[in-house]
């Protein structure tokens, strides 16, 4: 994973609450055996019309939303399945951060492991972000702040180990492997007890 320290971008807003993983990427696209190329089907059934053309009612199709790397989403983003295809699709689509007042557990875990900043902000700040689409933000992972124009920076919580992995570009597998001896000792203890 490449280090993720800072993201500067305008925001795009999807105000719907409870945007589930089926909306982020419908299940029929999960027959892939790789991680790549899922951006083109991200939000597929919301983003395209029946004839394959862009749906003008999908907010991220708007000209001013193009190229935005920060998505502000309605409450409880990413609920539903455990499919890691959801963060893979968002990243490939060009979204590098999701800001929301609540993010579903499994999605959040998956996102952070792939360098997609899934960040929970307070209800008031969330309201402000929803009300200011297109605003330019600077997300500072080390300082755990989001700078915004004309208002105080937003502070956010980030699980310390996830933060460390993001900043250093560390793969969590390496950390687990360092516990090889402890894992073997645990297994021996359990087998003896059985």
């Amino acid at each position: 994973m490449k280090p993720v320290t800072r993201i500067q971008s305008r925001t795009a807003v999807l105000a719907d609450e409870n945007i589930d993983t089926d909306r982020i990427i419908p299940a029929r696209f999960l027959t892939t055996t790789t991680r790549e190329g899922l951006g083109k089907v991200c939000f597929n059934d919301w983003r395209y019309l029946a004839d394959g053309g862009d749906n003008p009612a999908f907010p991220l199709n708007a000209l001013e939303a193009r190229g935005c790397e920060i998505l502000v989403a309605g409450h409880n983003f990413g609920c539903g399945s455990s499919r890691e295809h959801a963060p893979w699709a968002l990243l490939d689509y060009g979204i590098h951060a999701v800001l929301c007042s609540e993010i579903a557990d499994i999605f959040r875990n998956n996102a952070l492991k792939n360098g997609l900043l899934a960040i929970v902000v307070g209800a008031e700040e969330h309201r402000w972000l929803l009300d200011h689409p297109g605003v330019e933000l600077v997300i500072d992972v080390r300082g755990q702040t989001i700078a915004r124009p004309g208002a105080d920076p937003i502070r956010f919580e980030l699980e310390p180990f996830a933060r460390h992995c993001l900043l250093e570009g560390v793969d969590q597998l390496g950390f687990l492997q360092q516990h090889g001896d402890a894992i073997a000792a645990y297994e021996q203890r359990m087998e003896k007890a059985a």
Binding site: D16, D20, H75, P160, L176, H179, E187
Partner: protein
């Protein structure tokens, strides 16, 4: 004396390899990883990229369920896959299991089925275990008093390589269900009622323990239905303390201990319950007597109400959009809404008692003109048992399709799907927009409600059919 602990605490504590610190999560040992074709290919790739072996093939069990057709192979042995990609994905899992030495319940296995149906059937799921799968409905196995939760593909790779996961300890939520469920009201109605009360995110960050008289009275299959949908409230996992019902259900299954080892295991499992005085982070009380046949009316499982209750008015534009999508009218009950498709199956309601429940309503009746009904057993074992009882004849005689096991129309990635605009009464777990096909409208319900709705051609109360039978 040790401080009283919850059931969750006991399982968690006994699986900690390295303790959580301020800077690092706990290293948690995983007793069993279940694998299916959709969320595993990239994880096996990760092993190859890092030159790693599968640490514990004996703690890894695979099956084919999501991308698999539910129609039989043609005479030349060709299976009717929805797409070449689906076929390639299945072939990929077969190849990965051969390469890494994983036991696969594939096409040639008489035990193949939905991953959350076969784990318990084989006795691979046991009390006190930690169980993961790249699938959010892994919470199902919590019915046995196992800590079981869904993970992403990166984490699937972590477990393949190390048999461990990095985890922060979640919070606990006790849901006490007092009283007794009324006649004709089952586990599916109960869990929809619960999610309707606590909300689609009511369990986020928590492991739920379901307890109380109504839970203790449930069969294992019914407990699986309840725990299965824990994730639909956003919970990490759902748990029910194992008891005599659990032990009786598991005894003699292929992967459980036998003889003296069984007695020893059961003795240990009896300690898997929350101690008196143990504290949960949150507690909720539900009165089972208030539960009625329950259905969803919106586009997430938290939008659930008794089928005869008026659909609540939308509080905002987002809820209104959900009602518009469903073509549901505020103030009107869901009961009586015309139905196009009925689906009975899935890891929520694809087990033998679920099929019996549906067959009970359908026996001697016909699926209404213009309604398509699919019945998909959760596993080959369920299929065998159902056919031995003649349930398939009941379904076919009623005009329903009797299919091969798989996830089928629950996730609609194998070609079994509804058309845009069609209303599906479904015994599955998610009513998200487009879940059962682009533009399809899903109403979640129990097997009895699904069957009654198939007969009536509109969303119908199964109690009318059951009562009619008793009177006859």
């Amino acid at each position: 004396m040790n401080a009283p602990r919850t059931l969750f605490d006991k399982i968690w504590d006994s699986h900690v390899v390295a303790t959580e610190t301020a800077d690092t999560p706990a290293v948690l040992y995983i007793d069993l990883q279940l694998v299916h074709e959709v969320t595993s290919p990239q994880a096996f790739d990760m092993l190859r990229e890092h030159g790693l072996k599968l640490r514990r093939p004996d703690r890894t069990l695979a099956t084919l369920d999501h991308s698999t057709p539910t129609l039989p192979a043609s005479a030349d042995g060709e299976r009717p896959y929805a797409t070449p990609a689906a076929k390639a994905q299945v072939a990929q899992l077969e190849a990965n299991c051969r390469e890494f030495g994983v036991e696969l319940h594939g096409w040639d296995s008489v035990e193949r089925g939905i991953v959350h149906v076969i784990g318990p059937e084989l006795g691979a799921t046991q009390p006190g275990m930690t169980i993961v799968c790249g699938d959010s409905h892994t919470s199902t196995h919590g019915a046995f008093g196992a800590l079981a939760f869904g993970i992403g593909t990166t984490e699937v790779g972590h477990v393949l390589a190390t048999q461990c996961l990095l985890q922060r300890k979640p919070k606990t939520l006790a849901i006490h269900v007092d009283g007794k469920l009324p006649p004709g009201v089952g586990a599916k109605d109960l869990i929809l009622h619960v999610i309707g009360k606590i909300g689609v995110n009511g369990g986020t960050g928590h492991v739920i323990e379901y307890r109380g008289a109504a839970i203790e009275a449930l069969s294992m299959e019914a407990r699986m239905t309840v725990c299965n949908m824990s994730i639909e409230a956003g919970a990490r996992a759902g748990l029910i303390a194992p008891d005599e019902t659990t032990f009786a259900w598991l005894k003699g299954r292929p992967r459980v201990p036998h003889g003296a080892a069984w007695d020893k295991a059961v003795a240990g499992w009896r300690g898997l319950k929350t101690d008196d005085g143990a504290r949960y982070d949150r507690e909720v009380r539900i009165d089972a007597r208030e539960v009625k046949p329950t259905v969803t009316y919106g586009t997430h499982p938290g939008m659930a109400i008794a089928m005869d209750a008026p659909v609540p008015a939308a509080h905002d534009a987002i809820e209104q959009r959900a009602l518009d999508y469903m073509q549901a009218a505020a103030g009107k009950p869901m009961q009586g809404t015309p139905v196009d498709v009925v689906f009975v199956g899935s890891c929520t309601n694809g087990r033998l008692p679920d099929l019996r429940e549906a067959a009970h309503v359908l026996r001697g009746r016909r699926v209404a003109e213009g309604v398509r009904m699919l019945v998909v057993p959760g596993s080959e074992a369920v299929r065998r048992d159902a056919e031995a009882e003649g349930l398939h004849d009941v379904f076919r005689a009623a005009g329903a399709e009797w299919r091969m096991p798989g996830c089928s129309m629950c996730i609609a990635m194998n070609g079994d799907m509804a058309q845009p605009g069609q209303l599906v009464v479904s015994t599955s777990n998610r009513n998200f927009e487009g879940r059962q096909g682009k533009g399809a409208r899903t109403v979640l319900a129990s097997p009895a409600t699904a069957a009654a709705s198939a007969v009536a051609g509109v969303i119908a109360d199964p109690r009318a059919y059951l009562a009619e039978e008793q009177a006859a």
